[in-house]
């Protein structure tokens, strides 16, 4: 018993009773708005800057190489380089996912495992240009016989190492988030550790792993600094080399194209930089789209 007389008015809404909550809601709404405005500004800048090229000769821009005539110059070499980089980076994903499986499922929880985990986390925060120096020393110089020196292979492997910690961290987190009840259920039915990982843990973790790998590809495609250090060109001239020679020869990528266009003194090249940025954004968006569709399919198969 409260001992007081019930006052019906005490249940009524009081103006200003939740002032702090309303202020907080206002602030987070502003934050969302700010994020939208910034993304919108970037998109507007790119679309508007590239308007002349995208409305008049987009196909030519996509399919021709860099030439000194602004009306004919394109980013075909950059697209080619970026696609090869994306392909090679994807090929290295099993290493990162494998490392994550080891750390989460096999490694015992002791000081050396924790040291590795902390190191991986720190590696994810190392500035990209430092990875460029690593790539220069390892792939361009030491392994010159294999990579051909400042080639697209060296650039791609450097970027693969750059994103490896991100792949490991996101995959490990996705694996850790798999409910223990799935593991218990599988072990309880006589599944081995590998069977449990293959049939329960990995399928359930796959959407999260996909998200991490897509972010990694986007990161790798956007990096210019490490490529600069390993010796990517702004553009290059090529003869009729075969595929292997092209892989080991001079290369460029979309971020390098953008940098090159931006550095040109004549104002007309700004449009090229914007158009190349648009191409890069669309490329990353397409890769995202593939991952989102894949993720949705897996989620549907898992019945969620």
């Amino acid at each position: 018993m409260r001992g007081d007389v019930f006052d019906p008015g005490s249940l009524q809404k009081q103006p200003g009773a939740d002032r702090p909550g309303q202020v907080f809601f206002g602030l987070i709404s502003l934050a969302v708005l700010a994020a939208f405005v910034m993304v919108g500004a970037v998109l507007w800048d790119v679309v508007q800057g590239s308007w002349d090229i995208s409305t008049s000769r987009m196909w030519g821009f996509l399919t021709t190489s860099f030439v000194s005539n602004p009306d004919a110059a394109g980013v075909a070499q950059g697209i080619r380089g970026s696609l090869i980089i994306a392909g090679i980076v994807i090929l290295t994903f099993p290493i990162g996912i494998g490392a994550a499986i080891y750390l989460e499922e096999y490694a015992t929880d002791n000081w050396s495992t924790r040291l590795i985990q902390v190191t991986v986390r720190n590696l994810a925060g190392v500035p990209s240009i430092v990875y460029g120096l690593l790539g220069l020393a390892v792939f361009v110089q030491t392994l010159k016989g294999l990579t051909g020196g400042d080639s697209v292979i060296s650039g791609a492997l450097t970027l693969a190492i750059l994103v490896l910690p991100i792949v490991i961290i996101t995959s490990a987190e996705a694996i850790r988030a798999v409910p223990g009840s799935y593991r218990d259920g599988a072990y309880g039915l006589g599944a081995t550790q590998w069977e449990t990982i293959r049939t329960q843990v990995l399928p359930a973790a796959l959407p999260g792993i996909l998200t991490g790998t897509v972010l990694s590809i986007a990161r790798a495609l956007g990096e210019a600094a490490p490529l600069l250090v390993v010796g990517a060109a702004g553009f290059y001239t090529t003869g009729n080399n075969d595929f292997l020679e092209q892989m080991r020869g001079a290369f460029t990528a979309l971020p390098m194209n953008i940098a090159t266009f931006t550095k040109e003194p004549a104002a007309i090249w700004r449009g090229h930089a914007a158009a190349a940025s648009l191409v890069l954004l669309v490329l990353v968006f397409l890769i995202n789209l593939v991952a989102i569709i894949g993720r949705a399919r897996i989620a549907k198969r898992l019945g969620r």
Partner: protein, 282 residues
């Protein structure tokens, strides 16, 4: 010695593989001086008991008394907890389950488990039931195995038209019966049930209890339960565990009394058992 149950048990052979069909059922499990440690903490101390073939044995007791820990020794699920350590012997038909040459995977194929929370895999109903037979490399028509298992678990009529739908869309009670069907599908000898009804409503609980009575002719069942009425309703024998504080203030589980269920509930030998089953404690 505070453990009285062992002396109280009448005519328990030490261990005999007894298929002679005599009135005394053979032992499926025998625990001798079982101690389970989590790191330095002795969570279960000095448990001795026998689980009889084709009987339902219930473990009751307050939270933290180690009944689930003991249950998880029967199929070596404690192996999955890195800090857990088992001492003493756990014999299954005379074989020491913790002997170095014993493969825990093979143990779990013979000794199935149903968990506290229904834990269907995020797969179709069919694939849930077929999971164990598939990883176990079982031969035979998978559709027959799945149908037989679902029928055994009393679930077939409810799900036969939606076998390819996700198991996650079923009700909690159906999910738990699916987990029982899934465990049955690998053709085990024993079913371990760790509080299988604690997440279910009374109607679903009733169905699971009926199911246990139906299948008890084919399986040896050990069930951990918080629900004393459940133990009284379904089990043939009941083990009462309790928790005491050790010298460091950690909980340590002990077996207080183990006897036929009717004796435990009507004429227990230990006053702690009596206090618990009459509701004066716990």
């Amino acid at each position: 010695m505070s453990v009285t149950e062992y002396e109280a048990l009448p005519d328990v052979p030490d261990f005999i593989e007894d298929d002679s069909g005599s009135s005394a059922a053979a032992s499926v499990f025998s625990l001798t001086d079982l101690n389970v440690y989590y790191a330095e903490n002795r969570a279960v101390a000095d448990v001795n008991l026998e689980v009889k073939e084709r009987e339902i044995t219930a473990f009751i007791g307050p939270s933290g008394c180690g009944k689930s820990t003991v249950l998880r020794c029967f199929n070596r699920m404690n192996d999955l907890i890195p800090i857990a350590r088992v001492e003493g012997s756990v014999r299954y038909h005379g074989v020491d389950l913790y002997a170095p040459e014993v493969d825990p995977v093979a143990v779990r194929r013979r000794i199935g488990m149903v968990f506290q929370k229904p834990n269907p895999f995020p797969k179709s109903i069919f694939d849930n039931v077929a999971y164990g037979p598939r990883v176990g490399g079982m031969k035979g028509n998978m559709e027959d195995i799945v149908e037989k298992s679902l029928r055994r678990a009393g679930l077939w009529d409810e799900v036969k038209d939606r076998l390819d739908e996700s198991a996650l869309g079923m009700s909690g009670g159906q999910q738990q019966r699916l987990c029982i069907a899934r465990a049955i599908a690998v053709n085990p000898d024993v079913l371990l049930m760790d509080e299988p009804c604690s997440a279910l409503d009374p109607i679903a609980t009733g169905r699971i209890e009926e199911l246990m009575k139906e299948i008890q002719n084919d399986y040896t069942i050990v069930i951990v339960t918080h629900n004393m009425q459940q133990a009284a309703r379904v089990s043939d024998r009941t083990a009462f565990f309790t928790a005491e504080l050790d010298e460091r203030g950690d909980r340590r589980g002990r077996l207080v009394e183990f006897d036929e269920t009717s004796t435990i509930f009507s004429n227990p030998a230990d006053e702690r058992t009596e206090a618990y089953v009459t509701g004066r404690f716990g």
